[in-house]
């Protein structure tokens, strides 16, 4: 009788467990992240472990392949678990580098000193990706928009494509009387973070929400999962507009030119790199830290302000020479010509400008072995 009772409870419980496990295929919980660098003289060998942003996964695969073929014996492991998780893991000393769509905050920099030594950690940009404002309006391929109009469209304040605010900036375009469907990301993403930051800075009076990886929940509009989901939804919906990683936008869709100063700038890799060049380094940090305060309202002609910059977050000093050499070599490779060309090919990112690449290389070169 007792056994029967247990059996019954167990059956209930099994069904519950089955129902819950039915969905457990997409958790990318960390695998081994134990540092395993082996010392072997001046050449770079050993295992380098990192974790962080999902945005650089494709580029990272390319860097990893290029780096490992140039340095046989070296092995790079990167698990894309998210920017926040990456920064946390680096601060906790669980990984040797992190990838992050946002640089370490001041308090994170302070807490990184526990594992990285008194000099702490630093942020070095290594990946630039322009964010396109893409739309599907029958008969319209080119569109000029200023930040205020974009913000109003995504807030649902401009409801149709023939709205005067759009029409005055696009005198030649045949804008239909079609409802606008604004599409955003349903998942947390660095693209959303940077796009909302752009709107917040360039159209401060309209876009009052703070920059965030989650789209403001109070706003109307449709959403879809991931860059590909957003692009697909726009492709299938006449009258839709969305922001998406430029690399994923197909030729079937139009891309808006954004107003910068008095001119309109189309989204290109060069324009994005130019905007990053006009960024200022965040003051009050160590000389080698390249945390960039992106200029969302650049003055230079031809700079495209809606860009995403992803950082390598590394320690200034490492306890052993092998790890320091590995991090130094890998970072230098990634920001170098070969690395940037590889990520352009693999992820269609915008390459770092030569000035920024030189600075980034200098920062990687400054990595030291702790005394």
């Amino acid at each position: 009788m007792k056994a029967l009772h247990i059996g019954r409870v167990a059956a209930v419980v099994t069904v519950g467990a089955l129902a819950l496990t039915a969905c457990g295929t997409d958790n990318v919980v960390g695998s081994g992240t134990t540092p395993a660098a082996t010392t072997s003289g001046a050449t770079v060998t050993g295992t380098l472990t990192g974790t962080g942003a999902t945005s650089i996964s494709a580029a990272m695969d390319a860097w990893k392949a290029g780096f490992e073929s140039a340095n046989t014996g070296a092995n790079v492991q990167y698990s894309p678990e998210g920017s926040g998780a990456g920064r946390k893991a680096l601060i906790a000393g669980a990984v040797q580098f992190a990838g992050s769509d946002a640089y370490l905050k001041d308090e994170e920099l302070a807490s990184a000193k526990a594992k990285c030594g008194p000099d702490g950690a630093m942020n070095i940009p290594w990946y630039i990706s322009p964010i396109a404002v893409t739309f599907n309006v029958p008969g319209v391929k080119d569109l000029k928009l200023d930040a205020g109009t974009v913000a109003k469209i995504f807030r649902g304040e401009i409801k149709t494509w023939n709205d005067p605010a759009i029409a005055t900036a696009n005198p030649g375009a045949k804008l239909p009387d079609l409802a606008i469907t604004a599409v955003h990301r349903s998942d947390n993403s660095g693209t959303t973070q940077n796009f909302t930051d752009y709107l917040n800075k360039a159209a401060a009076s309209v876009w009052t929400d703070k920059a965030s990886g989650d789209w403001p929940a109070a706003l109307p509009g449709e959403n879809a999962k991931g860059t590909s989901g957003v692009v697909k939804t726009v492709t299938e919906t006449a009258g839709a507009i969305a922001y998406a990683d430029d690399s994923a936008v197909t030729d079937a869709l139009g891309k808006a030119e954004l107003k910068v100063g008095d001119a309109y700038v189309a989204v290109t890799a060069e324009a994005a790199a130019k905007a990053v060049d006009s960024a200022t380094v965040v003051p009050g940090r160590s000389a080698n830290d390249l945390s960039l305060k992106l200029n969302r309202t650049p003055k230079d002609a031809g700079a495209y302000p809606a860009v995403l910059v992803s950082y390598a977050v590394v320690c200034q000093t490492y306890p052993d020479a092998a790890t320091a050499a590995l991090v130094k070599a890998f970072g230098t490779f990634a920001v170098g010509d070969a690395g940037q060309q590889a990520s352009v090919a693999a992820a269609k990112s915008a390459p770092l400008s030569s000035t920024l690449a030189a600075k980034a290389k200098a920062s990687f070169a400054s990595i030291k072995v702790a005394k």
């Binding site: 167990a10 069904v15 129902a19 969905c23 997409d26 998780a85 946390k88 469907t181």
Partner: protein
């Protein structure tokens, strides 16, 4: 007879012991795993319950964060069951009692095959095919039946709404309900059925009198298994649903389910957000457990009235 029994008893007893030990071990293992999962969820979820309300997503505490998505989960599952239960039972009845033998075998196989399709495929199908087919029907619903709150307009221009997600879920739970019901209908006592027919019942009357009463408990368990899948389904909903705040209308973009919320936000979550999502998982865990216990209770209650005894 008795001699052979005695001869085998010495070996049989050790066999019995091993088997009962293994069976007990398997049963206990399930309990232990479940207990470990529950403890993990509880420990990891605790910070979300104790956090200051302003720090939780939405800024108004965990309860006001979780309630809308729990309701959304229940809505999605309810739509799925409302659509899938009658169809599933009908398909099962057709296979077990109406279809010619050769057709029934093939059909049964196809239904089982439906259950083997990965959910991400259903999701992709729902997002890219089904949704675009439903744009106009939803527009029609909004225009003509808009006075009913669940069909209130304006209809979503992408049709990636709760109703679409519910329909995709219905297709996903249909094979579970259909194949379980089929097995149960086939077990209905043949004598009862023959007796009913002999008394002059039509085939439908026979099914109603001799098959359905017998199968009632089984149908409920089949539906509950389907409900379990609908509640926990992640990928399909995450791909299909254009999520948003809780709303009554099923044809506007809005609503969210717990499983999809976790899947969409987990990759970039850390700190308190991670604890929130695990707490959401705990809530889902409890809901599924309660649903299954209620189902067990219903089945036990109906046992006495079933035609089997």
């Amino acid at each position: 007879m008795s001699i052979t029994k005695q001869a085998g008893s010495a070996g049989g007893r050790t066999g019995d012991k091993v088997f009962s030990g293994a069976a007990l071990g398997a049963g206990v293992l399930i309990m232990v795993v479940l207990f470990a999962v529950a403890v993990f969820l509880l420990v990891q979820a605790l910070p979300a319950f104790t956090a200051a309300p302003a720090d939780v997503t939405g800024g108004r505490g965990f309860t006001s964060y979780i309630v809308p998505i729990v309701v959304g989960t229940l809505i999605a599952a309810a739509i799925a069951l409302v659509i899938a239960t009658p169809i599933g039972v009908a398909v099962a009845l057709f296979i077990s009692h109406y279809a010619p033998r050769r057709l029934a075998q093939g059909l049964g196989y196809v239904v089982d095959l439906l259950a083997a399709i990965p959910s991400v495929v259903y999701g992709a199908w729902g997002a890219s095919f089904l949704a675009s087919q439903l744009k106009e029907p939803y527009q029609w619903l909004a225009d003509n039946l808009g006075w009913i709150p669940i069909f209130a307009g304006p209809a979503s221009s992408t049709a990636k709404t709760m109703l679409t997600a519910g329909i995709v879920l219905a297709v996903m739970v249909l094979p579970i309900i259909a194949s379980l019901c089929r097995e149960i209908f086939l077990q209905a006592p043949a004598l009862h059925q023959e007796a009913a027919l002999a008394l002059g019942a039509t085939r439908w009357e026979m099914v109603r009198m001799a098959v359905l009463p017998f199968a009632r408990g089984g149908i409920i368990s089949a539906v509950m298994l389907g409900l379990g899948r609908a509640l926990g389904e992640t990928m399909a909903v995450a791909l299909v649903l254009s999520s948003g705040p809780l709303m009554a209308s099923l044809i506007r973009s809005g609503n969210q389910t717990v499983a999809a919320e976790i899947a969409l936000n987990f990759p970039e979550a850390f700190g308190l957000r991670l604890h929130e999502l695990i707490a959401a998982g705990l809530v889902l865990f409890i809901i599924t457990l309660v649903v299954n216990m209620v189902a067990r209770w219903i089945i036990n209650r109906h046992k006495e009235f079933s035609g089997a005894n």
